[in-house]
Assembly symmetry: C2
Homo-oligomer: 147 residues x 2
Amino acid sequence: MSNLPERLRERGWRLTAQRRVVAEVLTGDHVHLTADEVHTRAARQLPEIGRATVYNVLNDLVALGEIREVSTDDRAKRYDPNAHHPHHHLICTGCGTIRDVHPTADPATTLTPPERLGFTITTTEITFRGLCPTCRPLRPQPSPSGV
Amino acid sequence: MSNLPERLRERGWRLTAQRRVVAEVLTGDHVHLTADEVHTRAARQLPEIGRATVYNVLNDLVALGEIREVSTDDRAKRYDPNAHHPHHHLICTGCGTIRDVHPTADPATTLTPPERLGFTITTTEITFRGLCPTCRPLRPQPSPSGV
DNA sequence: AACAGTATTTAGACCAAATCCAAACCAAGA
DNA sequence: TCTTGGTTTGGATTTGGTCTAAATACTGTT
């Protein structure tokens, strides 16, 4: 697996400054930025970059399969750079934090053939929701009568 | 488990014509309408119903736990009336059809404690994607060289 | 039946996220 | 250098959804 810029060039993608900066911003684990956040960060390195460009590049990268859209409860889509290392998401219902998880058990098998209704399944996407360590109350709730 | 109108009345919900119509539209299996679709269908029975009302009712029903939001790739949220019978979704990447599935194997257990990163998990949501029987090509693709 | 008080509905203004568009720009090959 | 087509851009536009203030419809009380 070559690195991102190379892979893209091989597919006839011109590596412009804008595209490089967006790709750079979208690097790392547990990175799930909105288009707006990507734009803000990209603009720190390349102040002239336009919003439309960011949207264009993000959509191109999604189409090329290099990044993935993850839909949370927010209105804005988020982008996950880790498209080549399949994983799932753990979302904190308190603060909205999203973390990547790589379950050891493969969940693709949870659906038996008869349950598949004739579908040919290609991807399985799991979203776990709950409270992260920071948002979870450290002790049991005060007392049920204390309301 | 009583039926919807009764359950709602028990919780002090006034069952108005608008609310009844929205609830009626949202009935059945494999029903996953957008707010706009709900409005269109509701208006067939009750032409005066307003957009804002539909949004109000939908949000109320979600808050009451009677229906669930499902996020697809579309921009618009969809609403699933089957909140009391936990299930997952099968989405066709060809035509966008969404079908309910009830895997016999519960995948909520796929995450071992160390994998949970300290989260307290409350819900697990799985989205299977692939081609439905209608969209799947009946025979193998023409030939790789035919591009 | 009339009333008061509260819920509910409504149109339309408003907002945020994303897309569209046409003009400007730029990079690479002839 | 010139040309060509991919790329970028600001601004207008679309879309999905929320908010607000006024009108309307219930409910319980007398």
